[in-house]
């Protein structure tokens, strides 16, 4: 009899206990009391309240979101919304109320101010006094606020990231999350600066600067405000690969590997969540998926992650957290003698020819196309030409029709650092 209990999704992010790793990121879904209560009712473990600034509150424009679609499916959206446009005290009062009503859930207060010590310290203290479990510093917003010297205008300068983090740490005794912008050259410079400033965790990524489309009738970028548009913050499924890489950059870097990471960027399903945790994230933040489908998506995130952990024998998130970090290496460390070849299963092939034309036009001319006497279209891999690039498998519409099979070429492991062709070895 299996006496193991169900896996637990409980986690601890920078000292903050959470019933599960699923928090809503600072954004429209966490703008006010009603949204946050609805999120908690749906099962979210925590929220990062929409970014607060000093009064007077900002004014937002209409319209606000642009979309990037492919074959009718949304791959990403962007937004040009600013921080909370409600009076500071209104937000603070609502935070106090929700904290009291939902004691087992996490509320992090997100904040942003001009680059003045007084402004950051005063605002941080006011937010901390509401009883939030932590404070997140919004140093990433890539539109609007940065033009006023806030958001990514600070986040793009490591010295300022460090300074702002330190200011806030000096006046509050709750964990401080420094939220990082991806609109930089090297994420490590920002992460290390936040670490020097004393942050308890980094949250990344904020949105990616973008123009999602150009309205060819208006001749203006979308979303349009009247007959103009501006660049905005890109988010959703499309940015997940960028976020995964930036998280991995931090977790596999010697100096930053122990930083707590609250991972953000295109998380839509439990699988996305598991991938970020495998690369070392301790907590997760979600926004776009909830905006597109509603808060109910957390149900499957919880059920799916629990089910997968059960199947794999992981009892807690810590059991698999960071397990993919060691296998994420620099290119120089890859085995140059590893060899894999495409193998097409003729029985499940539906004869569409996509693998052939992809390989023939754009890769290595390694898939032949013949027509049998009975009219069957036959696609065959020429092993000597196949470099194992995966493209045929990627374009094949039939699951598991094309398999990439490692071949034993008898060669020993060898990477670039010990390759005789490397000039450094002479």
């Amino acid at each position: 009899m299996d006496i193991r209990s169900k896996p637990s999704l409980k986690c601890n992010v920078a000292g903050i206990e959470s019933i599960n790793p699923f928090w809503l990121a600072s954004a429209p879904p966490t703008d006010k009391y009603i949204n946050v209560v609805r999120a908690f009712e749906a099962g979210w473990g925590g929220v990062v309240w929409k970014t607060l600034g000093e009064d007077p509150a900002v004014v937002n424009v209409s319209s606000r979101y642009g979309v990037h679609k492919n074959r009718g499916n949304i791959v990403g959206i962007n937004n040009i919304e600013l921080i909370s446009d409600r009076p500071l005290q209104t937000n603070l009062d609502e935070i106090i109320r929700v904290r009291k009503e939902w004691p087992d859930r996490v509320i992090i207060g997100s904040m942003m101010a001009v680059i003045e010590e007084r402004a950051w310290k005063e605002l941080a203290v006011k937010i901390a006094e509401t009883g939030v479990q932590g404070i997140e510093l919004n140093l990433g917003c890539p539109h609007g606020m940065c033009e006023r010297g806030m958001g990514s205008a600070i986040g793009q300068v490591p010295e300022m990231v460090e300074k702002v983090t330190r200011w806030v740490k000096e006046v509050v005794d709750i964990p401080v999350f420094t939220k990082l912008t991806p609109n930089i050259t090297n994420i490590l410079w920002s992460a290390e600066a936040a670490q020097k400033g004393g942050c308890d965790a980094v949250a990344l990524i904020n949105t990616v600067n973008s123009i999602t489309s150009v309205d060819l009738d208006l001749m203006a970028p979308t979303p349009t405000v009247g007959d103009q548009g501006t660049h905005g913050g890109y988010c959703g499924a499309a940015v997940k690969p960028i976020a995964l890489n930036m998280v991995a950059e931090i977790t596999r870097n010697h100096d930053t590997k122990d930083l707590n990471i609250s991972a953000i960027g295109g998380i839509e399903t439990w699988k996305d969540a598991a991938e970020f945790i495998a690369l070392g994230a301790v907590g997760l933040q979600v926004c776009t998926a909830a905006m597109l489908y509603g808060f109910r998506i957390v149900d499957d995130m919880i059920a799916g992650l629990t089910g997968w952990m059960e199947e794999k024998g992981y009892q807690t998130i810590e059991d698999f957290r960071g397990k993919a970090v060691g296998n994420t290496v620099d290119w120089n460390n890859l085995d140059m003698n590893f060899d894999t070849k495409a193998l097409i299963d003729q029985d499940s092939c539906i004869e569409c020819g996509r693998c052939h034309i992809a390989c023939e036009d754009t890769s290595h001319q390694a898939i032949t196309f013949d027509v049998a006497d009975n009219g069957k279209r036959i696609f065959t891999v020429i092993d000597d030409e196949c470099v194992g690039c995966n493209l045929c498998q990627i374009v094949c519409p039939v699951p598991e029709c094309i398999d990439m099979v490692p071949v034993d070429n008898g060669l020993e492991y060898m990477n670039w650092t010990n390759n005789p062709l490397n000039p450094m070895n002479n």
Binding site: G72, I350, E351, C352, G353, R354, I357, R377, P397
Partner: protein, 438 residues
């Protein structure tokens, strides 16, 4: 009021059989297309429409471009989208036509694109080449004739079309089931084809009647014959000329030419003899006109029926009862047909033979759909074999400069799409014959 609502019901029975896709449906369906390389669907299309390309164009919201891709190969892409037996052509060949998936709705996507162009584009999509000074006569304004006329005009020749009936379109106008060609589509398409320019149509001109092949030869540089199959086979039974016994093609024509379908006369007990798509069209439409009992009778088995299985199922779901292995024996009539007697058949040593068993069906209307044939008397001097005009690989008949295509020649199936291909290819052959580049 009761009568009005009954008439409305009958007219509603002749609404579009396949509802057109709206934009959302078209985008979704086009998104399923795999964009195959050297796609099997192209090879299955008699006119070789580049199907993956036009579907890709629908997906990229270049719907006019999609229509141009279709019409470049098949100027009657609109009709073919409606009436092609796609289940045995492009959609049968679709790689998604497997036990675990469904083929792409190629016909409906093609209709979406062509209808969009015909509705929204103010300009005809093709231009005529520089005038060659040559003239071409086309006999018959059906799919083969109009396709030939359109392509010949595009190639720079002046074309005159002679049509026996009052309207252009041939079977598109007179011979297809009404619910496949709603909203006067055949005439709209004819107008669209004529918009190219360089084509003149003269109606009520019949070969062997007021039209003479020799005169045409004297007056034109080349001739294309696309007269179709204008007469029908008979049952060779007594009482075949009794009131109530009709050719199915005439019955279908009367439905097509009557705007208010409730005014079309139909029997209560209708027997349809035959097993092709014409028989199905007649039987289903008789049922939809309000006939109580419609029985389709065929002397062989279901496997031998030339109607596609999709059409046979359409008949069944419309309440047509199908009686197989039964040959017409006699028509029992007074002044009007009253009954028909059939003899059961079977195959013996590969041959169809009659058995001793007979039965009788009530009938106040009998529709004969046992095939059409070429009117031979009109074609003095042209070689004909097995009832079809003989042509060489360039669609030229035994008389130099006289070309032919469509149902009048023996070229695969008697399908609209094949007729369009014949007309198009014959126009290129005529162009070569007249000294142009093919």
């Amino acid at each position: 009021m009761a009568q009005d609502s009954c008439n409305n019901t009958i007219n509603n029975n002749f609404d579009d059989l396949h509802k057109p896709l709206n934009l959302q449906q078209a985008i979704a369906e086009s998104g399923r297309c795999l964009y195959c390389y050297d796609a099997p669907c192209i090879q299955a299309c008699p006119t070789s429409i580049d199907i993956p390309t036009f579907i890709h164009q629908i997906r990229s919201e270049n719907t006019i471009g999609a229509a141009n891709t279709i019409l470049t190969q098949n100027i009657m892409g609109g009709t073919c989208a409606r009436v092609c037996p796609t289940e045995v052509l492009c959609e049968e060949a679709c790689v998604l036509n497997t036990s675990i998936d469904q083929p792409i709705e190629i016909g409906l996507l093609q209709r979406h694109a062509v209808d969009h162009l015909m509705k929204n584009s103010k300009q005809h999509p093709f231009e005529r080449a520089k005038n060659t000074g040559k003239s071409v006569a086309v006999v018959g304004a059906g799919p083969a004739g109009l396709a030939c006329a359109h392509r010949a005009s595009m190639l720079g020749h002046d074309v005159t079309v002679y049509e026996a009936k009052e309207k252009s379109g041939g079977l598109n106008e007179y011979g297809l089931a009404a619910y496949k060609m709603v909203d006067d589509f055949a005439q709209n398409e004819t107008d669209f084809i004529m918009d190219l320019g360089g084509i003149k149509v003269i109606h009520n001109q019949r070969l062997g009647d007021n039209l003479n092949l020799e005169n045409l030869q004297n007056n034109y540089d080349a001739i294309f014959i696309g007269v179709g199959l204008s007469s029908t086979w008979s049952l060779d039974l007594d009482n075949e000329d009794t009131e109530g016994v009709l050719d199915a093609v005439d019955f279908i024509e009367s439905i097509r030419q009557t705007k208010d379908k409730s005014q079309v006369e139909v029997g209560n007990d209708v027997i349809v003899i035959g097993a092709g798509n014409t028989a199905i069209d007649a039987a289903v439409q008789a049922k939809r006109l309000g006939a109580e009992n419609v029985t389709l009778v065929y002397r062989r088995g279901e496997e031998q029926m030339s109607a596609t299985s999709w059409e046979v199922n359409l008949a069944r779901t419309n309440g047509v009862s199908i009686k197989l292995w039964s040959a017409p024996k006699c028509i029992i009539a007074d002044e009007h047909v009253a009954q028909m007697e059939f003899v059961k058949t079977k195959t013996k040593e590969g041959k169809l033979v009659e058995t001793n068993f007979t039965y009788t069906l009530e009938a106040d209307m009998v529709l004969k759909a046992i095939g059409q044939k070429l009117e031979l008397d009109d074609l003095n001097g042209i070689d004909v074999e097995r009832g079809k005009i003989v042509v060489d690989e360039n669609y030229q008949s035994s008389i130099e400069g006289v070309f032919a295509g469509g149902d009048a020649i023996d070229c695969g199936e008697d399908l609209t799409v094949q007729a369009v291909e014949d007309g198009k290819q014959a126009a290129h052959a005529i162009n070569s014959f007249l000294g142009g580049d093919s």
